[in-house]
C-alpha cells in the first residue's frame, strides 16, 4: 500500500487525534521534532533535524517524583504520567539511537521505569533517506539510511508517495487507521549511501588498547566544554538527578547531563577522575566508539553528523576516526 504525499497532512491529523505526533518541523528557524498542530513548518525533506527526537523518550527534564518534607517527616509520590506518542519521519540514524537507548534503559539488570513507560507508548514511523549530507556517515556505523529495521513502520519515498511497510503491531495499527487514505501500489526507492566513508573495521578493539596513546594529547585544547556535542547527539543519554524545592514541597527530576562538564565526575571532597578536557574528550570518544560496543555490541554513534556540523570549535569525530586508523597497530 502507499500513502500519497498530498495526503500526509490528513494522515498526521488522524494520528494526532490519538497521540502526540512529533514531526520534523522548522520552528523559529530551528529544525526539530515538534508536535503536529503547533506553530511551525513541516520539513520532511531535510536529511536530519538539528535536534534529534530523543526527548520523546528521554526528555531534557523529566519529573520523577513529588515529595513533601518537614523537619522530621518525608513523603514521596512517583510520577507515572506517560501519553501516547508517535515519532513520524525519523531517519535511520535516529532510530539507531533509539535502539541504543533501549539497550541502556531496558537491559543489563535494571529496567528504567520512566523510560519503559514512554517506550511502550511510542510508535516509530521512519522515512528512508533519499540524499545524504556531506557530514552524514551512518552507513559506516552500521546504519542503513534506506531502512530503519527496528521502526514500527517504514515509509519508502517513491517520489509522489510513500510505500507503507508496517512491521510491528503498533505499525499495523497505524496502517489500519490510515486505511481510508491508502491506495494500492508498490515501489522501491533507489538506495543511497553516504559519501563520507569511514573504515570502522577493528576500530573498537584497537581503541580499547589506546587509552594511554598520545593521540589524546592533541585536539582537546580547542574544546570549550560547551556540551553542544552531547546535547544535540541522538545517542547521548547521560543524566543528572536533582531536586527542585518549593518550600516544604518539591519535585525530584532528572535532566540531560554532559560528560564534557567537569562537575559530571567530580566527587564530594574534590577528587575528579577526569579532571581535564583531555580525559573528558577521551571518555566521550571511547564511549561512542569502544566502550559501548564492548557492553552492548553497537556503536554509540549513529553517524548523523550533528556534532560535526555544530561543534563551535570544529572537533570532528570523523577526523578522529581517520587519525586512529593511521596509528600503527601496537601504538
Amino acid at each position: 500500500m502507499k500513502l500519497s504525499k498530498s495526503k500526509v497532512n490528513q494522515a498526521l491529523d488522524m494520528l494526532a487525534k490519538e497521540a502526540t505526533v512529533l514531526v520534523p518541523m522548522i520552528v523559529d528557524g530551528v529544525s526539530k521534532f515538534a508536535p503536529w498542530g503547533t506553530e511551525g513548518k513541516l520539513a520532511l525533506d531535510i536529511v536530519n533535524t538539528l535536534l534529534p527526537p530523543k526527548d520523546a523518550l528521554f526528555p531534557q527534564t523529566e519529573k520523577m517524583y513529588k515529595y513533601k518534607v518537614s523537619a522530621e517527616t518525608a513523603e514521596v509520590k512517583e510520577i507515572t504520567d506517560s501519553d501516547k506518542q508517535v515519532v513520524f519521519g525519523l531517519r535511520s540514524c535516529d532510530m539507531h539511537s533509539i535502539d541504543c537507548m533501549d539497550a541502556v534503559f531496558l537491559t543489563k539488570g535494571y529496567v528504567d521505569n520512566f523510560y519503559s513507560r514512554k517506550r511502550e507508548n511510542l510508535t516509530t514511523i521512519a522515512i528512508n533517506c533519499t540524499k545524504s549530507n556531506p557530514t552524514c556517515f551512518c552507513d559506516s556505523m552500521g546504519v542503513d539510511p534506506n531502512n530503519a529495521a527496528s521502526a514500527d513502520m517504514q515509509l519508502i519515498d517513491i517520489g509522489d508517495a510513500y510505500v507503507v511497510e508496517a512491521r510491528t503491531e503498533k505499525g499495523k495499527a497505524v496502517e489500519a487507521l490510515w486505511q481510508p487514505l491508502l491506495e494500492a501500489g508498490e515501489g522501491t526507492a533507489t538506495p543511497i549511501s553516504c559519501e563520507l566513508k569511514l573504515d570502522m573495521a577493528g576500530l573498537p578493539a584497537k581503541l580499547r588498547g589506546m587509552f594511554e596513546s598520545d593521540i589524546w594529547d592533541d585536539g582537546y585544547q580547542a574544546c570549550i566544554g560547551c556540551g553542544t556535542c552531547t546535547y544535540i547527539c541522538p545517542t547521548c543519554y547521560c543524566f543528572d538527578i536533582n531536586a527542585e524545592n518549593h518550600g516544604q514541597e518539591g519535585v525530584q527530576f532528572r535532566c540531560w547531563d554532559s560528560c564534557m562538564f567537569s562537575e559530571y565526575t567530580r566527587m564530594a571532597g574534590g577528587h575528579n577522575p577526569r579532571p581535564s578536557k583531555k580525559e573528558r574528550l577521551r571518555n566521550r570518544f571511547m564511549h561512542k566508539l569502544a566502550y559501548f560496543d564492548e557492553r552492548y555490541n553497537k556503536n554509540l554513534c549513529a553517524g548523523c553528523g550533528r556534532c560535526v556540523v555544530n561543534c563551535p570549535v570544529n572537533i570532528d569525530i570523523t577526523r578522529f576516526i581517520e587519525k586512529v586508523k593511521e596509528v600503527p597497530v601496537n601504538g
Binding site: 515529595y67 518525608a74 535494571y110 547521560c238 543528572d240 566527587m267 559501548f292
Partner: protein
Amino acid sequence: MVEIERECSCEKNPLVPQVCQIVEITDETPDIKTFKVKTMEGTKPFAPKPGQLGMFSLIGIGEGMFSITAQGEDYLDFAIKKIGMLTDALHEVKPGKQIGLRGPYGNTFPTEGCKGKNMLFIGGGIGLAPVRSFIRYAFENRKDYGKIDIVYGSRTPADLCFKDDLFKNWPAMPDTEVHVTVDKGDENWNGHVGFVPAFVEELNFSPADTIVVLCGPPIMIKYCAQSLKKMGFADDQVVTTLEMRMKCGIGKCGRCNIGSKYVCLDGPVFTMAELADLPAEY
C-alpha cells in the same frame, strides 16, 4: 583466585526511594557517624549482601551512594564521613529524621568464593566501613573461613572507626587477630604507629590460601597493593572496592564508568586482576 559475584534485580521503580527513618546515630570519630536506618514500620529496608550499596537521601537536599557497613534483623547501618554538601547536612540531623533510601545496588564481596580461605581484611579510615560488612558476615559464618586477620589504620587514635569492634568484639573471636595502626599517635596511644602499607609488610602475611579484602583511600590502596605483590600475593587474591560519583545507581546515568564498566552496577567490588584490565581512571 577468586571470582566476583554479580547479580541484580528490582521489583519496584529502582529510581524512587522508600521513606525510611534514622533510629539511632553513633559518633564514631569527629567526622564519621553511623546512622541506623529502619523502614517506617520498623523493619529492615532491604537485605543487602556484604559489599552492596544503598542510595541514601535527605529528600530535597541530595542523594549519595554509601556502603552498608552492617545489618541486623530489622536495620541497616551506614557509616558516613562528613565530606561534602549532603554529608554536612546529614551530620546535623537527629534520630527520628525520615530519609529516602533505595537499593541495594552493586555487586558483592565474594563471600562464597572465599569459603575455606584465610581472610586478610585491610582497611584505612572510612574504608573500613565496606570491609566491615564482610568481616561481620565472616564472623556470622565463622566455620566457613580459616584464620582471620584484620589490619586497620587511621590518621590518629581519635580517627579510628568502630572502636568497640577493633578492641573488644573482633579480638575476642576465635582464630582472629586484629592489628591497628595510626599515622600519628598521641600521649595515650600505646599501639603501632606507621602507615598501613608498611605495617602490612611488617606483619609479613603468607599468601598461601589467603584472600585479601582491601579498602581505603586511593593512595593507601595503591601502596598496599604494591606491598602485597612484594609479599607474593597474586592480583586475583586481592579484592578491593572503588568509588566514583554516582547518580542513578543502576548503570544508566553514565558518570561512574571506568572503561565499559559501571562502578554502581559492575562494582564496587573488583579484584586487582580485573582492575588491571580497566583504564586507570578512578
